[in-house]
C-alpha cells in the first residue's frame, strides 16, 4: 500500500464507527423494548460493508440482507431515519412499514435489506440486467451470508449473471455461521469462493477484517463489471462479535477462544491503530469518536421523538397507475 489517503481513511473510520455505534444503540433500544421485531447486528463485520462500498458510486446499487444496517450506513444512510425505521416511527426510511429487515432508500440506490435469506441475490442480478440493458454504467453490489450461499437463488442468479456478463459484484460475508449452525455442518466447501468455478467467474477469498483488502478486491471486481466483463464472487471471511439476532448472545455455540481470537482482529480497533501509525494524532481520532457518539445520540433522540405512523397501514399495497392517456378503454365487447 503506497499512498496514505488521509481524508479518505478518516472517512472510512467515521463510517465504520457510525455503524458500530448505531448498532450498539439499536441493541440498547431493543433491550428497552423500543424496537419492532428483532434486529441482526453486524458488529465485527464493518470492514466488509465499508471496504466494499468505498468503491461504489452514487448511481451504483446495493442489495442487502437481514443484517443490513452496515450496508445502509456505508452507502450513505443517516442514523436517525434508520433507527426510526427500526423503532417503527413515521420518520423511518420506510415510515415504519419495513422494519430492520425491509429497508430501502431510493435516493441512495439502496434496493433494500431483505428478510428472505438468499432472496436478494436474484434481485441484485436484475438490477444489473437493467444497468446492462439501459447502459446506465451502474454496478450492483449484492451482499449475502455464507448460509445464503446454499440457497438455490445463489446458484440460479450467479449462473445468469455469468451468462449475461452482468455488472454485479457478489459479496459473501462469511462469518462462519448461519444462526447457530457452523458453516462446516451445512456447507460442502470450506470456501464459498470455490463455487465461482461452477459459473466460470472469478472467485476471491478476501480478509474481511481488513478494510483495504476488501476495498482492493471490490475495486477490481467493480472495474471488471464496469468494463462489461461480468460478475465476480468475493468471499470476505469475517465474524460477528454479537449474537445472530437480539435474542442470542452468540456464546453458546462458539467457543470463548474463537471469539477472543476474532476480537483481536476487530476491524475498527485495527483501523484506528493503522491511522495512528500513519500519523493521525490521538486527539483527532478522539474528536471523531466524540462526534460520532454525539451524532448517534442526537439521531436516536430525533428518531424517538418521531411518532408512530398512523392511517397508512391500509394503503400503499399498490402503485398508482395512470390510465392510458389518449387510449380508449375497451370496456364492453
Amino acid at each position: 500500500m503506497a499512498h496514505f489517503d488521509r481524508d479518505q481513511y478518516l472517512e472510512y473510520y467515521r463510517l465504520m464507527l457510525r455503524i458500530r455505534r448505531c448498532e450498539e444503540q439499536i441493541g440498547a433500544l431493543f433491550s428497552r423494548g423500543m424496537t419492532m421485531g428483532t434486529a441482526h447486528l453486524s458488529v465485527g463485520q464493518e470492514a466488509v460493508a465499508v471496504g466494499a462500498l468505498s468503491v461504489a458510486r452514487p448511481e451504483d446499487q446495493v442489495v442487502s440482507t437481514h443484517r443490513g444496517h452496515g450496508h445502509l450506513i456505508a452507502k450513505g444512510a443517516a442514523v436517525a431515519p434508520l433507527i426510526a425505521e427500526i423503532c417503527g416511527r413515521v420518520s423511518g426510511y420506510c415510515r415504519g412499514k419495513g422494519g430492520s429487515q425491509h429497508i430501502a432508500v431510493r435516493d441512495l440506490n439502496f434496493l433494500g435489506t431483505n428478510g428472505i435469506t438468499g432472496g436478494g441475490i436474484p434481485v441484485a442480478t436484475g438490477a444489473a440486467l437493467t444497468a446492462r440493458t439501459l447502459e446506465t454504467g451502474a454496478v450492483v453490489f449484492s451482499f449475502f451470508g455464507d448460509g445464503a450461499a446454499n440457497q438455490g437463488t445463489f446458484h440460479e442468479a450467479l449462473n445468469m449473471a455469468a451468462v449475461w456478463k452482468l455488472p454485479v459484484v457478489y459479496i459473501c460475508e462469511n462469518n462462519g455461521y448461519a444462526m447457530y449452525t457452523p458453516q462446516r455442518q451445512v456447507t460442502s466447501v470450506d470456501d464459498i469462493a470455490a463455487r465461482a468455478a461452477g459459473y466460470g467467474i472469478p472467485g476471491r477469498i478476501v480478509d474481511g477484517m481488513d478494510l483495504l483488502a476488501v476495498r482492493a478486491a471490490a475495486l477490481e471486481a467493480a472495474e471488471r463489471a464496469r468494463a462489461g466483463e461480468g460478475p465476480t464472487l468475493l468471499e470476505c471471511k469475517t465474524y460477528r462479535f454479537s449474537g445472530h439476532s437480539k435474542s442470542d448472545t452468540g456464546t453458546k455455540y462458539r467457543s470463548r477462544e474463537e471469539i477472543v481470537a476474532w476480537q483481536a482482529r476487530d476491524p475498527i480497533a485495527n483501523w484506528r491503530a493503522f491511522l495512528r501509525a500513519g500519523g493521525v494524532p490521538e486527539a483527532e481520532l478522539e474528536q471523531i469518536e466524540a462526534e460520532i457518539d454525539a451524532e448517534v445520540a442526537a439521531a436516536t433522540e430525533a428518531a424517538l421523538e418521531s411518532p408512530y405512523a398512523e392511517d397508512e397501514a391500509l394503503v400503499g399495497a399498490y402503485a398508482a397507475t395512470a390510465s392510458p392517456a389518449g387510449e380508449a378503454w375497451l370496456i364492453a365487447q
Partner: protein
Amino acid sequence: MTATALQLRTISYRDALYEALRAEMERDERIVLMGEDFANGGAFGVAGDLPELFGPRRVISTPISENGFVGVAVGAAMTGLRPVVEIMFMDFIALAMDQIANHAAKVHYMYAGQYAVPLVVRTPAGAGRGYGASHSQSLEGWLIQVPGLKVVAPGTPADAYGLLRSAIRDDNPVIFIENKLLYPVKGEVDAAGALVPIGRAAVRRRGNDLTLASYGRMLGIALEVADVLGSEGVDCEVIDLRTLKPLDLETLAASAGRTGRFVFIEEGTGGIGAEVISRVAEQIPGVRVARVAAADTPIPSSGPLEQQVIPGLEDIIDGCLRTL
C-alpha cells in the same frame, strides 16, 4: 368509458398475445421479455418473430431457473425496466412463489412506495391435453390471496390483447393467466388497439333467473350451459370475471342480487370460486350459491380420467340445479 368505433379483425388468442407484446414493445423501450426457451421458440410459440424484431437484449431466453429469473425480473422492474416474463406452464410458478409473493408483491408497500415493480408474469394454466399432474394445474387461487398482486385471466382474444397491454402498462406486478386450450381459438380483436381495463368484469349474456360466473376457458362451457338451461326456460346471465384480483364485486353482486342464484365455475380446485362466492354471499343475503370446480385430486394424464376431474357440462348443470 367510451368504447371507440371498433376496427375488428379475427385472430387467435396466441396471436393476440403476440400483437399486444409487439405493440407495447414498440411503444416502450423499457419492456423486455424473458422466459425459458422464450427467444428460441418456447412451448407455445407466443414470441413468434419478436426475438428477431427486437434482438437479444430485449427478448431473452433464460436458464431453467423459475425463482431466479422471476427474481431477476423483480430487480429489473425496480430499477427501470418493465419485464414481461413467461412461466412455461403455470404449475412451475410453484418454484417462483417466493419471488412473486415475498418480493414482487411486497416491495411497493414495505419500502413505503419508494419502488414500484412493473412486472408481468404470463403463464398458461389449465388441463385438457393429457399432460398429467405437473403440467395441467390452475393455481390462480394462490395468487389472488397475495396482497400487492393483480391477477388477470382473459378468456377471449380481445381480452388477451387488451388486458396484456393494460398489464404491461400497470406499475404493479400482474399475473397474467393464459389457457393452453385457448391459444388456437380465434376471435375478433380491435385493430386500433384498445386496452381492456384491469378490474372490470364483462357480462357476456344477459339473463334474469341465474348468474353464471367464470373466466378463461370455462367461460365457453358456461355459455353452453346457458343455452341448455335457456331451452329449459331458465334465463341465465353469464359473467366473465376477466380480472381475478381486484375483483369486480359490483358487477357480480348486482347480477346475483337480481337473479338470486349464483353459480361459479372454474378449472382449478375452487380457490377463485371460494373467494367470489364468499363475497357475494356476504353482500347479498339469501342468495343461493353453488361452486363447480375441479375434483380434489391431482390431474391424471389419461384423457377419460382427466375429463372426470375437470368440470364439464353436466357438472355445471348439476351445480345450477342445486340453486334452483
